[in-house]
């Protein structure tokens, strides 16, 4: 077998595309249309979150009792002033949707990052050091898991006082354990694989082994877990905000709007449907993009995907010619 028989395609360059030029990254992403759509939607949501005050046609907190529960513009009783209608206090649903993206994304991303990095770090240490360190860390995890999450959250918020940043810290505080358990389990089994022993025999220290040999091989399960957690956090944020312990009015979030709108669900579908759709679309986009990312960071999977793409292209040209 020789590597030189085949022309080396761009996708087989040694480093994952994220570290190469962004142009290469986009070119590779473009080949997977679903992932590209997901990525584009995520960029859109981020831009909307940043520029919400400029884009929103109304003040998201401005109430107008006279025009409450106006249906979306394209329905019979709709008004052109309110594209997606108004909620039970007469607030513009579209403007709230744009502003809500800010809190939802902020909370979701920062909780996953905060809880994820703390949980992963502890899991790495517990799994790699083993022995007493492992026992202590895992017993702490057990205590946290056994403690009712909502009660812990309520306690902490009551102590610190409700605000968006409090909610981020509190949600991270009650959600880091799952990362620790997952990572510790994988590290334990990975410690026994020969390539870790090989690294130790070569003289690598624990820091290098964790950083270069264990962490990169944890990417696929961690990506999957982080996405699932992201969805959970959006919903947890909604629950907390609904209880008045999270995002504080006049600020808003998608979760808060759903929570508020659900009492009127039977007479007005729009205040709850649009933020719900926004959450669903965001989570779907994250999923599509993350599954592409998972393949991209795995050298073997990446080459297989590239080969499949080439085979498809060849079939297409041959059927066109014939």
């Amino acid at each position: 077998m020789s590597a030189t028989d085949f022309p080396r395609p761009a996708a087989l360059r040694p480093r994952p595309a994220m570290l190469a030029a962004p142009a290469g990254f986009l070119a590779e992403l473009w080949k997977d249309k679903a992932a590209f759509a997901g990525f584009a939607f995520l960029i859109l949501v981020v831009l909307v979150a940043i520029f919400a005050p400029v884009l929103a046609p109304h003040d998201p907190a401005a109430q107008s009792v006279l025009s409450r529960l106006t249906p979306p513009a394209w329905t019979e009783r709709g008004s052109a002033a309110h594209l997606l209608g108004t909620d039970m206090l007469g607030r513009d649903v579209f403007s709230r949707l744009l502003h809500g993206a800010r809190a939802s994304l902020m909370v979701g991303v920062s909780v996953v990052l905060l809880a994820g990095s703390a949980g992963v770090a502890l899991g790495l240490v517990a799994g790699y050091r083993g022995g007493r360190t492992d026992t202590v860390i895992m017993r702490v995890v057990d205590v946290f898991v056994a403690f009712p999450g909502l009660l812990l959250t309520l306690l902490l918020v009551a102590m610190i006082g409700p605000s968006t940043s409090t909610m981020i810290v509190v949600l991270a505080f009650s959600n880091w354990m799952i990362y620790t358990r997952l990572v510790r389990g994988i590290v334990l089994s990975m410690r026994a694989t020969p390539f870790i022993e090989a690294a130790e025999v070569l003289g690598c220290g624990p820091g290098r082994i964790l950083r270069l040999h264990i962490l990169p091989n944890l990417i696929p399960p961690l990506l999957t877990l982080a996405i699932l957690e992201f969805t959970n956090i959006l919903l947890a944020e909604a629950a907390l905000s609904f209880l008045g312990l999270g995002v504080q009015p006049p600020d808003t979030s998608w979760g808060l709007d759903i929570a508020n709108g659900k009492n009127y669900m039977l007479i007005a579908w729009w205040p709850i449907t649009f933020p719900g759709l926004a959450i669903a679309a965001t989570v779907l986009s994250v999923n599509l993009f993350a599954s592409w990312l998972r393949v991209t960071t795995d050298p073997a999977e990446r080459e297989k995907r590239h080969a499949r793409g080439r085979a498809r292209a060849l079939r297409r040209t041959s059927s066109e010619n014939g």
Binding site: M1, S2, A3, T4, L12, R13, P14, T193, P194, F195, E197, A198, A199, E200, V201, L202, G203, C204, G205, R208, L212, H213, P216, N217, T297, D298, P299, A300, E303
Partner: protein, 341 residues
């Protein structure tokens, strides 16, 4: 080559040339079953009274059935396992008790080639990163790119085309991966390589290539090998001397021809009889039944008896009472641990 293997005893002449590695009375314990649920684990002696010398540029083959402790011996020499007893001197330096940092530094001189080339290479590192890693870890290169020329040179040394330098290991065959593993071990120019069944996971057709490569490298670079294997024909091909392990004890050690042509220990003969003979006209007689595999409980309970006495065809009363030590046969370069030999 003059060799003085085996335990040093009062009547031995002083070893003439300095051996690269000399092991004396090495013993390793593992945790065994507990007698009570909360009680301390019992200790199982998995290696006992192992002594040998290894000269520079020499290959010592370690042979034994599974569970005989041959891989454990390799890891004990690498100082990856705590020793229960004994002494290891490497290159004139006592490495029996080494702090962790010095043990890491020792990896410049003692390297290892692993059994399974499919799991011993990190799938997310390129060939360049894999082979450059030892150089980086030991401060010989700041990063993979700086080591590119060295790595290309190492790839040529193990007969792999250097164009493959930026590829990932999953694109290579087993034999090619094992060459990458060997290049990795060679990067630091070690004096001793512990090869833990380096070809047993490979296809039969490429075994010879890898073994020949290892021999060529030995001649070129003067490396010593501790070659662990259970394939007797390959061991004979590569080794200068062979040591037979049985249940954690060395039962016989001699140069290849002596050992294969006239085995002295009854276990060695049984082992050799188990090798299939490719020529049907050439019969060696029916092999005796293979000895039953050791159970951990047996190892715990065994006291002073010879560990082979239950399966030994030549067993005598003395074998049940006292275990024979590895001793040099008078006038020969052969070491046997048997009362009857």
């Amino acid at each position: 080559m003059t060799r003085f293997p085996g335990p040093i005893r009062a009547q031995d002449p002083a070893p003439a040339p300095l051996p690269l590695l000399s092991v004396r009375g090495l013993a390793v314990d593992f945790d065994g079953p507990r007698s009570r649920i909360w009680g301390p684990p019992s200790r199982v002696r998995v290696l006992e009274d192992i002594s040998f010398d290894l000269a520079p540029g020499e290959t010592l083959g370690l042979v034994g059935e599974s569970g005989s402790g041959k891989s454990t011996l390799g890891r004990a020499v690498l100082r990856r396992l705590p020793l229960a007893d004994g002494r290891i001197v490497f290159d004139g330096r006592d490495i029996t008790h080494l702090p962790l940092a010095e043990r890491r530094a020792l990896s410049r001189d003692i390297q290892m080639v692993f059994q399974d080339p499919y799991t011993s290479l990190n799938p997310r590192m390129t060939v360049l990163e894999l082979i450059a890693e030892p150089l980086i870890v030991h401060g010989l290169a700041p990063g993979p790119e700086a080591a590119r020329d060295r790595v290309a040179e190492l790839l040529r040394l193990v007969n792999l085309p250097p164009e493959n330098i930026d590829r990932f290991p999953h694109g290579f065959s087993g034999g090619q991966r094992q060459r990458i593993g060997i290049a990795r071990a060679l990067a630091l120019r070690p004096k001793l390589i512990i090869a833990d069944e380096p070809v047993s996971a490979l296809d039969v057709s490429v075994r010879a290539q890898v073994v020949n490569l290892m021999q060529d490298l030995q001649q070129e670079l003067g490396i010593s090998y501790l070659f662990v294997a259970h394939d007797l024909s390959i061991v004979r091909h590569i080794s200068h001397r062979i040591a037979i392990l049985h249940r954690g004890r060395m039962v016989e050690m001699a140069d290849c021809d002596t050992l294969y042509d006239s085995p002295a220990h009854p276990y060695t003969s049984t082992l050799l009889q188990a090798v299939p003979e490719p020529d049907p006209r050439h019969r060696r007689g029916t092999p005796t039944a293979p000895p039953p595999a050791p159970r951990m409980a047996d190892l715990v309970m065994e006291g002073g008896a010879c560990r082979y006495c239950r399966s030994c065809p030549k067993v005598a009363d003395r074998c049940h009472a006292e275990a024979p030590a590895l001793a040099r046969q008078p006038g020969r370069d052969r070491w046997v641990a048997c009362w009857e030999a």
